[in-house]
């Protein structure tokens, strides 16, 4: 039985307005249940690639398929259902400051129409798991960077997404917390979630042996597990410890 791809890019290009192309001829496919790191220098196009994956924009050229459906042909009314299958951790968290940590995490369940009892149970459980059990009612402005990041991650995974996209998800965390959250992603991945994590953290990539998608000037190359780009592995040892 052929492996079904959950994400397929075919000669995708992306540019903003009349500017230079940010992504150039990007072609790849990710099977269901795969785990990839997305790496590249700042400005290489990681965030733009992720924005295509979470349907924030359409490609300028080429074809993108999600769940075997070409995104250009998806009726607008079907987009919310597809987006509910995609969990996103934004680099800038995008938490709603007027809502508590609990309500921020509960948002995906609310929009999906879950019952209040179910929301209460799942959100409380997850927030306790990420170490925010005593901050359920805290508003984001009162939380530290790491705590905000934990809330953002909890919001991304609360609905057990089919695809999890994370843009520098452990950027504001200490190594211990980063490992703990990476284990959450791995656990989700074992249950069938396709995971793509954009990161600069070479230590993290070393600690978790998954293939990497590497962007250079908008062009993508996929490297197998263990392939070294000869970059700075300054965090590797501490993460392993």
């Amino acid at each position: 039985m052929p492996i079904q791809n959950v994400i397929e890019f075919d000669a995708v290009g992306l540019r903003y307005g009349q500017g230079a192309e940010i992504l150039k001829d990007v072609s790849f496919s990710l099977p269901i249940g795969s785990f990839h790191f997305l790496t590249g220098e700042s400005g290489a196009g990681k965030t733009s690639l992720l924005s295509l994956l979470y349907l924030a924009q359409s490609p300028t050229r080429g074809h993108v398929k999600l769940f075997s459906r070409a995104i250009n042909n998806i009726p607008r009314d079907d987009l919310p259902v597809i987006r509910r299958k995609i969990g996103v951790v934004f680099q800038d968290f995008r938490l709603l400051d007027h809502l508590s940590a609990f309500d921020n995490v509960a948002l995906p369940l609310r929009v999906a129409g879950y019952s209040q009892d179910e929301i209460q149970k799942r959100v409380t459980e997850l927030l306790i798991w990420v170490g925010l059990g005593s901050h359920l009612n805290a508003k984001p402005p009162t939380l530290s960077g790491g705590q905000k990041q934990s809330v953002a991650i909890a919001r991304a995974v609360i609905n057990r997404p089919h695809i999890l996209l994370a843009d520098e998800p452990t950027g504001n965390m200490d190594d211990k917390s980063a490992i703990r959250l990476m284990r959450l992603f791995v656990e989700l991945n074992k249950r069938g979630t396709t995971v793509v994590i954009a990161t600069h953290n070479e230590g993290l990539i070393k600690a978790f042996p998954f293939p990497r998608m590497h962007l250079v000037n908008g062009r993508l190359t996929i490297y197998p597990v263990g392939y070294s780009l000869n970059q700075n592995f300054f965090k590797t040892e501490s993460l392993r410890a």
Partner: protein
Amino acid sequence: MLRYNSDLPFVGDTSTWFLPWMVMLMVFFAGLTTAGTLSLNSMLSRWNHSISGSLTVQVIPVEENGRINKKKTQREIEDVLDILRKTAGIASANVLTDSQMKSLLKPWLGETVLLDDLPMPHLIDVQLVPNAEIDLGMLKTLLDKNTPNASLDVHRLWLGKLIKLVQTLDFLASMLLGLVITTTSIIVVYVTCSSLAVHRPVIELLHQIGAHDGYISKQYAKRTAFLAFIGAVLGFLSLLPILFLLSSLFGEIQGGLLSEARFEASSWVLLCFVPVLAVLLSALTAYWTVQRILRRML
């Protein structure tokens, strides 16, 4: 205290702060216009009810050498009564008594009216058989020919003019109401568009986590309904003392047209719908505005 939960940070959204005040003004004007229309129509209905199915024949006293000839006048009255009673479709014809005349004149001339001192015409109240068709032209010709001092007062003609006046006023009131509704809708559209621009990042996030346009639109509709409700209540409360004052002033006028322009219990019930409709209109306008704008987003 009314509370609602929203994913959008509406509290502190200055773009919507003036909405309650605008709705207050609109409810005030719409309520005043509606009250005026209802009063006019109620007055017309009362007049119509009281004089439909009746006629009045007026007999001017016969004068000879500058003096009223009561005998000839009485004979003419009897001739008129004779013609009327022989006319098919007339149920009864009765001359108004002095006391009836005095009560009619009381609002205008006071309690102590000396009818003998005034050259007052005699009035004959004619009641028609319900749904009877009477040839009023023929009756008028007959009266003119046989009783030169008698004249037929067909209320329907006078009422027709009154109806035309009230219809014109109704039309103007409808135009005014239309203007108020349009203005309210435009204000709500403007406020909603401003608010959408302010909250665009949050809306994008809600879309991102899978919110339907309807989920966001409902939150805007609820918020707008809440603000419009505050304005509608304020507008209605501002309207009440003015309506009571006008109602009381009209009530003090004894007799004549204006005293009939009363505000009935049913009118108060209808008037209560004005703020309700204002809230509904605002909420629906906000809902459709958000839907329309979100359609343009990915």
